[in-house]
Symmetry: C2
Subunit: 458 residues, 2 copies
């Protein structure tokens, strides 16, 4: 990975050397950084947004927050602000969410759990069964008949030794997404999944459970790490340990919702569009400041910075707050916008996504097949470095912008990610996790990249 990144860089060095720094671009890049750091406009906006509470897709609160943002944006004097209707998934956590381990002496101990998104409930009744712990699907397959009638406890931790926490997440998350259907195949009656997190506390981390067609949908919950370890330890002593669950979460019909879109029209090439954004929906346990209030507000702050510094971009800059990313389904704002982009006569030249949290800038991933574009973007590092962007690496940009086809290049903003999964999908995802300077440098980094694409093309 490291070596790959370095060689990517080395290929481009001859071009890099030949570059001279454009004074105007340098001046504007510095101005973005200074304005962001001194005004903290985005940080304060995110504070207000977060105070409105979580924005679970399909929920009343997600629309309340969206309309509040819309009314705020309408005061900002952009060229256009509009809502793009989209149908979204609608799942309700309900007000009953309990898990208890029944100890051999008959006493019970409450476990810190939460239902996973789209999980079915237990019909308001206790569902109890013996616990069986597994680390992966291979082990599950071997157990086969032993699983029948039991509650499967998936307890594979994120690998701490991986520096890239997104990679560690990717290698642990299938327990959560696919575990329920895998276990149901062998007759399991429910699953409890070790929270996919790097933070050792007892807050459960939710996230999507994806049921496979044709397999019975069984209740699926996440458990806090301390209780996961307690459960594992207790199971070693008492292999016949039972747990009972009670959940009244439920899936409802698709709900009406919207993407929120705002733009500044380009002064010379208004038909060429640079899209930037994040997803507006969040999970419901925290306030969604990190995932992905950050990405939304940083994108919006880019528009604010252009406006504040009175810079009319050459090309159109469009910000999209995508609705319904977390349920990972086709019923998402990203698909809706993707379809719009395909039909539209506009040319979407580039798309930038911010959905890795609000920590300090490190780099941008770049997804393009064009070698010349790579060279061009790398040559912009002297400007981007002002906002602490140290590298451009090849890589995927993000789930939402990937639905826009035909762009010349797509970018993912990459802040530092060491803390990210400690907040992700849990009650820890709160505005207090955001540091104003780190957050604002991210907005500035995105503004610089947007400006350079707008002025120079790709």
């Amino acid at each position: 990975m490291v070596i790959l990144a370095l060689s990517f860089f080395l290929v481009l060095i001859p071009f890099l050397i030949s570059q001279t720094v454009n004074k105007k671009s340098l001046k504007i890049s510095k101005a973005f950084v200074q304005e962001a750091l001194t005004s903290e406009w985005g940080y304060n906006f995110l504070k207000e947004l977060s105070a409105l509470g979580p924005r679970l897709s399909g929920s009343e609160n997600s629309l309340k927050a969206l309309f509040w943002v819309k009314s705020e944006i309408e005061k900002m004097g952009f060229s256009k602000v509009w809502l793009q209707p989209t149908l979204v998934d609608h799942w309700k956590r309900g007000d009953i969410e309990k898990a208890e381990v029944i100890l051999p002496d008959g006493k019970t101990k409450t476990l810190h759990i939460c239902a996973l998104g789209t999980s079915v409930g237990t019909n308001k009744k206790w569902l109890s069964g013996e616990i069986i712990e597994v680390k992966n699907f291979t082990k599950l397959k071997k157990l086969n008949d032993e699983v029948k009638g039991k509650i499967v406890f998936f307890n594979r931790p994120m690998e701490k030794e991986l520096v890239d926490t997104f990679r560690a997440y990717g290698r642990a998350v299938n327990q959560r997404t696919a575990g329920a259907s895998e276990a149901a195949k062998y007759g399991a009656i429910a699953v409890i999944v070790r929270s996919v997190t790097t933070k050792y506390d007892n807050n459960p981390h939710t996230g999507l459970v994806s049921y496979k067609k044709g397999i019975k949908k069984i209740p699926a919950v996440a458990i806090g790490l301390k209780d996961a370890d307690f459960l594992s330890k207790t199971l070693k002593k008492f292999p016949k340990l039972k747990v009972r669950l009670k959940l009244n979460c439920k899936n409802l019909p698709l709900a009406k919702s919207y993407n929120l879109i705002a733009e500044i029209k380009g002064r010379e090439k208004p038909e060429e569009v640079i899209v930037l954004g994040g997803h507006f929906d969040s999970w419901d346990l925290g306030d969604g400041a990190v995932d992905d209030g950050s990405g939304c507000v940083q994108s919006l702050e880019v528009l604010h910075l252009f406006k504040k510094l009175n810079i009319r971009p050459k090309r159109t800059i469009r910000v999209i707050f995508y609705m319904n990313e977390e349920f990972g389904s086709k019923n998402s704002g990203a698909y809706t916008y993707g379809k719009y982009a395909k039909k539209s006569k506009e040319i979407h030249i580039a798309a930038i996504e911010s959905d890795r949290g609000g920590a300090v800038p490190r780099g941008f991933t770049l997804n393009t097949k064009d070698e010349l574009i790579k060279q061009k973007v790398i040559s912009w590092l002297p400007y981007l470095k002002i906002a602490l962007i140290d590298w451009i690496k090849p890589g995927g940009s993000g789930a939402d912008v990937s639905k826009i086809k035909g762009t010349k290049a797509q970018f993912g903003y990459v802040p530092d990610v060491q803390r990210y999964f400690g907040y992700h999908h849990s009650a820890n995802d709160r505005f207090s996790a955001i540091h104003p300077r780190e957050f604002e440098l991210g907005s500035a980094a995105m503004a610089i990249l947007t400006y350079l694409i707008s002025e120079n093309g790709l």
Copy 2:
């Protein structure tokens, strides 16, 4: 600054390209990172150290903590552990530390202040006077006679727009270090200094006040940012506003103390020494986990990692916990070690300092005049990047290692510094500010650099 850093890099590119990656070094670098991230040995050590409380130079607690560390290190099986005696400054905060603003209606309001290090007290009596606010020494000079008999309120904030918080600190800190003597020149009776911090709360940030010889020593305190703003605002309404101070801090004779030193002898060139370390003393308002418990424990963790992975280095690796950095005087462990190094027959080939906090790695500063060493160190980036070191830049290494003369190169470990001054010298400097993964990646980065110097020389 940015351009400079880039050109520094560009010069070295031909060499970089010609480099091939050494498989053994790569394997060991990865092993350092994995071991650090999974065991969190240093993080847990720092937790225990921080729980012992602050380590103000000359204080009983600083020695208690030092002896605890020594006894722990002695269990670790290094080649040598020893104390190097050094005389250190000794200042006591005392138990009376009060400031009140006297409002025009006769009511008083308590201000959040703390005495600055080495400040004289007020003889346990209230010292009161009119407040006069200034932003800098030029303004002070202009006021001249107006200052007489008054308390000068230095209220110049750190410049938020500067990305490099150390630069912003450097541009604001002279109010704290030199303000008292500057104000005393014009007959001021005391100074209140806006805390030099990036965090907007009401915790005062202490630090050294440096009295000039021949000028009257007047009491000097720092004030929390919220109260600084309150004071400034109230002064605009009531220009004759009075404040009173009561402090019983005092300076005592130099105290006996020690540097703590531990080392693993080199297997081939034991006489060639690579020094790494941080300063053990801290200010007394927090627990000093950030400044500079981090740097000390990261350095120690380098030795631990060599030991744990059973790597006997080619050259000697020596860790120094320097005593008495914060008072910035010649009575410091750094000078004592510097003198020792000069007399010693050993060859100090390199020195690494970690004194910029425990946040996520970004780079190393490199201080050398030798162009070939620069090229060599840059060529190590493929290994260092595994621990998130993205760059090597020319720059000062740190106050402590700078006293070691004749090294081929000196390095400063640079973590991200956006949060640093929010903790620095205040009650915010606590173990809770440390993130295990960020901290451990720093230890690993230092271990990789140390290993490469040890095996390849400079």
